[in-house]
Symmetry: C2
Subunit: 428 residues, 2 copies
Amino acid sequence: MAILIRGPAVVGRPGEEVLPKADVIVEGRRFEAVLPGGGAEGNFDFVVDGEGCLLIPGLVNAHTHLAMTLLRNVAPDVPLERWLADHIWPRERRLRPQDVYWGTLLGLAEAIRSGTTAVADMYFFMDEVAGAVEEAGVRALLSYGVVALTPDRIEPELAEAERFVRSWDGAAEGRIRAALSPHAPYTCPAAVWKRATALAHELKIPLHTHLAETWEEVERFRAETGRSPAEWLEELGALSVPLIAAHCVHVSEKDIEILAAHGASAVHCPTSNLRLGCGIAPVAELLAGGVNVALGTDGAASAGDLNLVEEVRLAALLAKARAGPAALPPAEALRLATAGGAAALGLGKEGGTIEPGRRADGVLVSTEGPHFCPGGDPVADLVYAGQGLDVRAVFVDGRPLLLGGEFQALDLEKILARCRRVAHRLRP
Amino acid sequence: MAILIRGPAVVGRPGEEVLPKADVIVEGRRFEAVLPGGGAEGNFDFVVDGEGCLLIPGLVNAHTHLAMTLLRNVAPDVPLERWLADHIWPRERRLRPQDVYWGTLLGLAEAIRSGTTAVADMYFFMDEVAGAVEEAGVRALLSYGVVALTPDRIEPELAEAERFVRSWDGAAEGRIRAALSPHAPYTCPAAVWKRATALAHELKIPLHTHLAETWEEVERFRAETGRSPAEWLEELGALSVPLIAAHCVHVSEKDIEILAAHGASAVHCPTSNLRLGCGIAPVAELLAGGVNVALGTDGAASAGDLNLVEEVRLAALLAKARAGPAALPPAEALRLATAGGAAALGLGKEGGTIEPGRRADGVLVSTEGPHFCPGGDPVADLVYAGQGLDVRAVFVDGRPLLLGGEFQALDLEKILARCRRVAHRLRP
């Protein structure tokens, strides 16, 4: 299929300024040409009007639990431990596989509506998650979250994680990749990490985990092991494979050196970190130390939504609050959610930019609202004024998932109705 | 004119839970009835479909400089002093009265589009600002910003401020009220504050100023006067009239006691404060100390936009980052932008809630997007997932300014075109 995207400004070409107007040709699954000034000719299966829009690389949500949309804003403002014990876990215990399927579809609908083309999701009933991803048309790195608080859980948890990888890695014409997810250093013993690392080497897949999310967790871990979680993972050899480390709020200078030396990615989840009182991750320091930084929403139960446009803005604002007004300029903040996310998900050479030969994962954002006027710096306007609902069109692998703000592959009304019914049933 | 708003959930009735469904009748400029469950009958000039929406009190932007939309995101990320000297002031010196008129209309369009019904604006060429407010249909508290860094500026600045008040206070059928705005304690000597306070008493109007925005400013002020800015204002008697104090980032416990004792309002501007590296205002502490807290965007040059939906969310998140996950629950965060803002602007008995007899300043927010599903707690969903573009309808004094997302009183295309032209001319 050949598509012409007519006339948008183009953002996110590597090392180049914004093109104020171009015609962009998509051929099959890839960008075929970017023609500055426009003037494309030829036969196209269809033409998308991109006038008055920015074309940006698809946004990557590098850490989420999509099906937690079913628990959106449950008991807001209850402190973390009570929130989990009294409100989240009782509902999660009631979740059936089909519920996770519908909750994941809801999360994907919300993600697509706000410009996300790829997600890294970690949860359970992952076959249903993968089924929803296949149906929705996005790109995803999926993993079963291994929690092994007692020795008897090690084998069954790892077996399920491995089964999922072997079933789904490479599925949906390559849009689905699998990872292994020991949940965190403090919830999985060394044996889990060693086995998962060996398996990741064998299967050529990354690890995806939670790292240094709360101060208490890191202090307790240091007291028990004499090491920071990152130091401990390095000693175990777990950084010998690509690691996606969500949160990284409480990392030391030495931790940053370790993550950088091994090419690990840190996933900044600013909304979730603020809301749960975890703190503000040292993004400027991570970037200065050479760590690849991506953005994530975490689950909607705590974050409230799955809107990366907001996470980009919040990342920019919080970096300035920590490191001064010059920290994390707009283009760099946007890069975390595009090229940074693509690199974290192992798509570094395939995605994250708009250029010929790359996967055609792109998003058209309307700049016709008053909040984009007068428009001297469209990237700054997108970062500081843009909204998820400004997104007009979304393409993944050259396939349109959203056009004119309308879903092309998903039946939104059906998803909403099913999820409302499930949420009703989950109430304790 | 009689309007029926059919079927929305209603938020912001004082001391009451959300009404899941009601018919709301507007008669003339006021809410006439709220009928739980619906079933309104009678003759109406028109009926607005509120099914699938929340009806909330109009949002109040209690500190802004609307015409700075013309300078939106100019030189993002340049440290404050260089930003002002090299980028903002050179452009502001080129502003003509008509430019401020168009820039204010742009700001009002953006504000209305995201659910704002009232603003407190402080700038210059205020006749043009007032003209734009009259045309756009919103409610406003307007003031000329007095800056008197040298003694010779005291008289002309105060004369202009007084002239504006006498020309415009009570205009536009009472939608426009005027205030006096010594810009800040560090930019206006005691003589300005004393004269302004006396005049405010005489004219029965409030003062609107900037207070304790940056740490450096407060430390310098303490070094020079031996007092905090709030202590100094109290000693001068400036708190004997209602005071709207923007920012209040660096206020002490004693300052909070002073503000509370005199019934002053603090206006929290979270985006601007983060972006300019000023810090995070102690909102939980101000509220606990009995200070009325409102929300503001500040100008779009630094904030990037004029979207209070985002400021509500950011206020909630930052309060938790400072004071733990239980701080500032969703209903309280929303209240800052509704009843808190109304109280700051002197509308406490007239606005800020949806109830019979109050001014019909209301906003319909669609909850039909995936980000509002499954919808167990609509106020939490609005605060943590809502977007400005979810706003479907806006009423001020019972007059519809936005219906179905479309402007009823403003010619948006004309405003955008004029503002683009002005911004082009302003470039140094």
